[in-house]
């Protein structure tokens, strides 16, 4: 456990306490209770069924696929799957909520307690407990900027399945909250139950933030609604925690309230106070019988679970000898891990990891690409490493070849051939170069022989340069040693 952030107030230290409610859109082609499509970016109101628009007499029918995904997610965080769960109606009026209620799970969620292990920047970990996951419908969208005097409603999102993943207040800094969000996103992507795309709104969260004197009782919390990027999560929490410290140190009390984050100003403001809090009048939805999940159903899903990041990391470190850093970097993204494993099948894992995390990721970062857009496929990287292994090229040349591969997408072998980069292993040819270099630097040779052995590197460099990097360094090394000691 790391200590988390401490805010230095005027009157002493303050600890930040954070819990998140993450809304993750279930990767499903159709909505939670209707057959309409969930495709992103379609014409407004083009994906709205009679059920989504809440016409009279319309009834919800549960989408079994969404139930499966919630169970899958529960299993992915080692959570209890509740054999019986129930849907409730959360009643409130809003123009983009056609039914006048949201179908959610209030008292009996589908998934119970679970756990997510978060890797911290300092190398440590923090266990964040998950209180529950429940299924619920998303609302539509109110568009206030389409007309000066009217609000427009788009119901495409109305009824889309969300998983609400509720954490315990186990995080102690904004960065931890951000890392938790990232880790959760990784797990969801591994599971395939949510695409984790925050830009498209597939994943967003509400943050419950409070401050307290270290070790004391929890303070009054405020809920910041609808944070839709990692940066906003960090900024909103940091601002809110400082605000709370200022309020308390100024002699006032924190009002339990719901707040909104203004990303432009970097501040939070009151959305509604506790007095204005809705009475949602939750009650069991009489249109839906309780959801019964059998052990067989759960086991069937369990069998299809992929290896998850924590297990993968463990295996990379213990079985493949990777460093914790490399393992973390590789498992953080399912595609990176897959890429790595393909390369590691043909080459020594540590070498593969090195080339991927240092060389490939460096180039990807520079060009702003993600692994799925990488112009060098795993097969092509294997080809490049083959050339190093069989001494066709040196590691140094290989880096140049990788640059060309990155730009052109060509195979390493072709690049090496086209540019005549094949490593020289012919000893007579190498001997000629060595002799020439030594002859040119007779003075330094004398110094070396009189004890300045550090000059060895200088000779190596000169020889490699003279061979345009093509001489096999191991052979050069060996022959040079021989020549200098003779």
């Amino acid at each position: 456990m790391s200590g988390g952030d401490i805010i230095k107030g005027n009157t002493g230290d303050w600890e930040i306490i954070i819990g998140l409610e993450v809304h993750a859109q279930v990767t499903s082609k159709s909505k939670l209770f209707s057959g309409s499509s969930t495709e992103f970016g379609s014409e407004p109101n083009s994906q709205v069924s009679l059920v989504d628009a809440a016409l009279p007499g319309m009834l919800p029918v549960i989408n079994e696929y969404c139930v499966e995904q919630a169970v899958r997610t529960g299993l992915g965080i080692n959570a209890d799957i509740n054999p019986r769960s129930a849907f409730d109606r959360k009643n409130y009026f809003y123009p983009d909520l056609p039914q006048g209620y949201q179908i959610s799970q209030f008292k009996e969620p589908i998934v119970g307690k679970g756990k997510v292990v978060v890797d911290l920047k300092n190398g440590g970990t923090r266990e964040v407990n998950i209180e529950r996951i429940h299924l619920e419908q998303d609302a539509g969208k109110s568009l206030h900027d389409q007309s000066p005097d009217s609000t427009f409603i788009d119901l495409n999102r109305s009824g889309v399945a969300l998983m609400e993943i509720v954490s315990e207040p186990d995080m102690r800094s904004a960065e931890e909250a951000a890392e938790f969000m990232k880790k959760l996103r990784t797990i969801l992507r591994y599971l395939g139950s949510c695409d984790g795309d925050m830009e498209k709104g597939s994943m967003r969260c509400d943050a419950n933030v409070s401050v307290r004197r270290p070790g004391e009782l929890m303070g009054t919390r405020c809920e910041i609604k609808n944070l839709n990027s990692i940066r906003n999560i960090i900024n909103a929490i940091n601002y809110e925690a400082r605000r709370q410290v200022e309020v308390i140190e100024g002699g006032s009390l924190i009002d339990q309230e719901t707040r909104l984050f203004d990303a432009d100003k970097g501040t939070t403001r009151t959305m509604r106070s506790k007095e204005d809090a809705h009475d949602y009048r939750y009650f069991p939805d009489p249109d839906l019988y309780p959801l019964v999940i059998t052990a067989t159903f759960v086991e069937k899903i369990r069998k299809t679970l992929p290896e998850l990041p924590d297990a993968k990391k463990e295996r990379y470190m213990n079985k493949m000898g990777l460093s914790a850093y490399d393992a973390n970097v590789l498992v953080a993204d399912k595609s990176s891990a897959e890429y790595f494993e393909e390369v590691a099948e043909k080459h020594e894992p540590k070498m593969a990891a090195n080339w991927i995390t240092a060389e490939l990721f460096g180039r990807l970062n520079k060009s702003g690409k993600i692994i799925d857009e990488c112009p060098v496929s795993s097969k092509k990287l294997i080809g490049l490493l083959n050339l190093i292994k069989d001494n066709t090229i040196s590691g140094k040349i290989a880096k140049d070849v990788l640059d060309i591969m990155f730009d052109t997408g060509k195979d390493a072998e072709i690049i090496v051939e086209e540019n005549g980069l094949t490593q020289v292993t012919d000893t007579s040819e190498i001997e000629g170069v060595i002799d020439a270099v030594l002859a040119e630097n007779a003075e330094k040779v004398a110094q070396y022989r009189s004890g300045k052995e550090a000059l060895f590197g200088f000779f190596m460099g000169q020889i490699m340069k003279a061979s345009k990097g093509k001489a096999n360094p191991a052979i050069v090394n060996q022959m040079l040693k021989k020549k200098l000691s003779s």
Partner: protein, 492 residues
């Protein structure tokens, strides 16, 4: 060809089959009756042109071009809470005064698939909330029956009062109704016809304007038990679009009807003998019991100890669900929206709903909102749910000992329009004896069994075990035969 409308449904069906008359003839006869008895105000929307078109189609089928359906060419009235594609569906509310559904409810789709002809959309209490059909936005429905020697207009009962009046006055061969807490059985008793509410889950609720989802059930109203069996067979069945619909096959009730009740055990629940039960109703109940006993049934005195809590339980659960079900009528997407100036979205909601809903609907929305509110939920809604389970349990235990239960349908006879309006409870008492079966989701029928001293029809109720509609039809037939109830409202 006169008076074809006086035939029972199965008589009409035979006539069509034997080509004694055409479906168009039959339909015209009903259209004439509708024109003649407009004063009863039984219909919100008459669909005579659609009816004639459907009748012509049926005639083609009946002349050998296709296989006639169970209801081929039979004119049926449809309670205006079943969504009918392209035809105004109001639920008798101003709120839906302009609502033309782009879809067909499962129940009416089934009906039309069996060849039925839609004569019109019948009036009802607004959103099915009422027991006298005096809460419709489209005016009161009048019962065709009158007290002997008294010309006062009487209520037809509710909420399916339009369907009841229409069937009773021969304006259709049968009608669809819906029963949440007696809304089929009570008006059928008040108008001297047969009404059948099947087991909850037997008919799909898809496309039926919701009042209280856990109680709402479509059913049928007709002039004979056999007719009601034909109709129920036509509309029942599993529907994957309704998660509460039961995935079990629909029996051939009509074919299987047996009037022989020998050996059946009939329960007479002590708690239904309420103090306020009038002597004539009590006498009819005893008579009904004797008929069944004489026919060889075994009469068993039973106890349903939680009966007295049924009405208050119903008036918590039904309004609670209604307050949520009716939230969608907000003026945003369809239906009424205020044309008055509005200052905010909340103002729009308030004005729209204040204008669109009638007083009884508002009362129930407020009651329902209250019982679900924070701090009251446990005391009202949760407790009511517990009591509801106890009531269902009472029935479950009793059905280990009996095959069906016999009771009066109503504790009162039809009363003049305007009476029982001062105190809502005096109106709610109408449903005292019909509500328990609704809470337990059990099939129940009202059969006309006699007239009271004022010449008004009275009904007996048969409650069956879950999904055992057949026994209810059988006992209903036995009573029908024994009662030999032939009375019709004077002048119709």
């Amino acid at each position: 060809m006169s008076e074809l409308n006086k035939l029972t449904l199965h008589e009409a069906r035979n006539g069509l089959k034997n080509k004694d008359f055409s479906a168009v003839d039959l339909t015209k006869s009903y259209i004439q009756a509708c024109e003649k008895y407009k004063k009863l105000n039984a219909f919100i929307t008459e669909t005579h042109e659609i009816a004639l078109k459907q009748a012509r189609e049926s005639d083609k089928v009946l002349s050998g071009k296709g296989r006639p359906g169970l209801l081929e060419g039979i004119p049926i009235g449809i309670k205006d809470l079943f969504c009918t594609k392209g035809t105004l569906t109001t639920a008798a509310s101003k709120m839906l005064g302009n609502f033309i559904p782009p879809y067909e409810s499962t129940v009416t789709a089934n009906l039309f698939a069996r060849g039925a002809v839609m004569i019109g959309k019948t009036s009802m209490d607004e959103f099915a909330m009422g027991s006298a059909n005096i809460t419709s936005h489209y005016g009161n429905v009048i019962n065709p029956w009158k007290r002997s020697g008294d010309n006062k207009d009487l209520v037809p009962g509710g909420s399916s009062g339009g369907s009841a009046s229409a069937v009773s006055a021969f304006m259709c061969a049968g009608a669809l109704g819906s029963d949440t807490g007696g809304s089929i059985r009570q008006p059928c008793a008040f108008t001297g016809i047969v009404g059948m509410k099947p087991t909850y889950g037997r008919c799909s609720r898809w496309g039926m304007v919701a009042y209280a989802s856990s109680l709402d059930q479509a059913g049928v109203m007709a002039r004979s038990v056999q007719d009601s069996a034909i109709m129920l067979e036509s509309i029942a069945g599993f529907d994957e679009k309704d998660s509460t619909s039961a995935n079990i096959p629909v029996p051939h009730w009509e074919k299987e009807i047996k009037t022989d009740v020998k050996g059946l055990r009939i329960g007479i629940p002590r708690e239904y003998n309420v103090k306020s039960l009038p002597e004539d109703i009590k006498a009819l109940w005893e008579k009904g019991t004797m008929w069944l006993k004489d026919a060889g049934a075994e009469i068993v005195e039973i106890s349903l100890p939680n009966t007295e809590y049924a009405l208050p339980t119903y008036y918590i659960i039904a309004p609670a669900e209604a307050s949520s079900n009716l939230a969608r009528y907000d003026g945003v997407r369809y239906g009424h929206r205020t044309t008055n100036d509005i200052a905010s979205i909340d103002d729009m909601y308030e004005k729209t709903r204040a204008e669109g809903f009638g007083a009884e609907v508002k009362t129930r929305i407020m009651m329902g909102t209250y019982v679900l509110s924070h701090g009251y939920y446990d005391a009202y809604y949760k407790k009511a749910q517990k009591v509801r389970r106890l009531i269902a349990e009472d029935f479950r235990k009793v059905f280990e000992k009996v095959d069906a239960i016999l009771t009066p349908t109503t504790p009162i006879a039809p009363f003049p329009i305007g009476e029982r309006t001062d105190d809502p409870v005096s109106m709610y008492i109408n449903d005292l004896l019909v509500v328990p079966a609704s809470l337990a989701g059990l099939p129940a029928m009202s059969v006309p069994a006699g007239l009271n001293s004022e010449g008004l029809p009275l009904g007996l109720q048969i409650i069956g075990n879950a999904f055992d509609e057949q026994t209810v039809f059988n006992i209903g037939s036995a009573i029908e035969e024994a009662a030999d109830f032939k009375a019709t409202p004077e002048g119709f």
